[in-house]
């Protein structure tokens, strides 16, 4: 009985455990300054994972996130001189639109999201290539600071990325727990036919979930491009799998209806800790990827709540 109760807390227990283990190896790791910086650096990845959570929460997946982020780094850089802060709006709208397109193809054309989002990702990737003229671009430093300096500054020793991430988390938690959309999302994830038979416009809910995912991927790209002060059609490569892993490790399995935004926050931090632990334990370069996979298996085995999954597929 007591274990039942512990189950839902396993993700953050795993996180604390990992932090403690790395901290024991090297106390430097535990310095608040380091932990805060680590958290700040993972924010773009976290924002993408946050979006991915919505797609996975309804039992789908969004493989277009990385390409959308790539594209928005380019859009942000190209649009900044012309539109200033307005560039952000263009990015968000572009992400929202592509996400909605994925949702439309998935729900209306009945293409599984694994394939539909991959395909829409291809479109985003091509768009990024085209807009960038296939080269890395950089932002004018002064324009960047004027329009987006607030995103990457520092206040009271805390990087602003953390505030950006924090605001988005709060918004997402609110959306998930306190709004009709969040409730509908949960209903669709946990029991789609019953949601249909309750008169919920399931297709719209799903399209919105994918649109949100696309939008957050775009914001991730925007923040990343501001942070790097530039954009390139390939610069966000390497985001996708860690973002998916972060969602899964947090305890939102692909079966839908279980987990959520806070789980993803914890999952992302777990990924960040595992990644830096490679350095602290001085894992050999050629072994890092294998160790990452093994630790991942252990972490997933620990964090997923199997009682809520009827069949393990």
């Amino acid at each position: 009985m007591s274990f039942e109760r512990i189950k839902t807390h396993l993700p953050w227990i795993t996180l604390v455990l990992l932090v403690a283990i790395v901290g024991m190896a090297d106390a430097n790791f535990l310095r608040p300054h380091n932990l805060i910086n680590m958290a700040a650096d993972i924010v773009p990845l976290f924002i993408m994972a946050l979006g991915m959570t919505f797609a996975i929460y309804i039992g789908g997946i969004d493989l277009s996130a990385q390409s959308v982020a790539n594209m928005t780094t380019v859009i942000a850089t190209v649009a900044l001189p012309v539109f200033g802060v307005g560039a952000a709006l263009i990015c968000v709208v572009a992400g929202l639109g592509l996400g909605a397109l994925s949702g439309f193809v998935t729900t209306r054309l009945l293409v599984p999201s694994f394939v539909s989002t991959l395909a829409v990702g291809g479109i985003a990737y091509s768009a990024g290539q085209y807009l960038s003229g296939q080269r890395a671009l950089y932002m004018n430093a002064e324009m960047r600071d004027a329009s987006f300096g607030w995103m990457v500054g520092n206040s009271f020793g805390i990087p602003h990325e953390i505030f950006v991430g924090g605001v988005l988390v709060l918004a997402a938690v609110f959306l998930q727990n306190r709004t009709t959309f969040g409730r509908a999302l949960k209903a669709v994830g946990a029991g789609e036919p019953a949601a249909v038979a309750s008169g919920i416009n399931v297709a719209r809910v799903k399209i919105m979930a994918f649109a949100l995912s696309g939008m957050l991927a775009a914001i991730a790209g925007l923040l990343f491009s501001v942070k790097l002060s530039g954009g390139s059609p390939t610069i966000a490569n390497g985001f996708l799998l860690p973002a998916i892993v972060a969602v899964l490790v947090g305890g939102t399995p692909l079966t839908g209806g279980v987990g959520g935004v806070v789980n993803t926050l914890i999952g992302t931090l777990i990924v960040a800790v595992i990644r830096s632990s490679m350095l602290y334990f001085e894992i050999d370069a050629t072994q890092q990827q294998m160790v990452f996979g093994l630790v991942l298996i252990a972490a997933i085995a620990l964090t997923i709540d199997r009682s809520k999954m009827r069949i393990v597929k």
Binding site: M38, L228, T234, A272
Partner: protein
Amino acid sequence: MSFIKKFIERETLNRRNFLLASAYGMGGVAALGAFGPGVARAAYSDPTIAWSYRNRTNPYWNEIVSGGEAFVESLGKSKDALTHLINEGSSEKSLADVKALLAKTNGELALAIDTNDAPNCRPIVEAVAGAGGYVSTIWNKTDDLHPWDFGDNYVSHMTWSDEGPAEQTARILLDAIGGKGGIVHLGGIASNNPAIERLNGLKNALKDYPDVELLDAQPADWDTQKANQIMSSFLTRYGDEIKGVHCANDTIGYGVLEALRAEGMSIPIVTYDGNPQAVELVAKGEILATVFTNPHWGGGITASLAYHAATGAFKPSEEPHEHREFYGPTILITPDDAVEFKKNYIESVPTYDWTDFWGPAGGQIMYK
């Protein structure tokens, strides 16, 4: 070929943007300088030496790493003393890893790095400088970022001017096909700087060969298998019109060679990078030319620069600009000199003097 034209137009446009950007860039740097002195600490006696690079699946990076290790061993340490940060093509991981290492070492760090994507260079340099570490970069850096704007902490940037050598290989290729007919180019990841420069080199050479047509140029992403598939599709589209192939690097060249071999064909190709296997193929005459950029030396000297700046052995801010931003060495390898080259550089790795920082270098970086 309208897309290539657009490409060129865009490039000129970007150049204009860059001029603007670099003018503004000074302002940002001045702000940075304000907290610069605060972090300029005394030299470190034994800083952690680290190399951050893309992956271990490419022979080029393996050569870089071997150079880094050779340098570490020259200090009397075991080669395990070199810390590896592998970003797997992810700028995000690259930056996060560097910051984690800075935290771990408390800033006592001598970092050699390719930042994976040019825009990623600025945040990394700022992070290292902010923590009081020392960094030397290669390849990817935006044009508005300069080591001398960061005092001693941004030690140096080395890149290779690929346009010239790529033009040379192109000329060899174009001569080999008798100065007329069609050729194709298989490039790297389209937005990567070297990929752009190597294609430009080819285009420069083409100006002198009016009878040669560039039939097609497509990105093969530095990937052997992708190059293989693109080449076979080219063969369908252009068939015998293709008289020669210009490849952006050796690994692309391998894929092209195999696509030709599958058809029982043999046409002249040139590559880039000078990997041992490619040199072998040049010696056999299967590849007409490749360009050796001496990654072994590059890997060692980049780490060495960062290390010696960190220990205070030299003060970068007192060095002239051509010692802060410079071109790496390039050696053209053709079948005539391949055997000798192999003897000198591959069968026995030369022992370098890792304190001769600028000996083999090729002069200060020129911006267009």
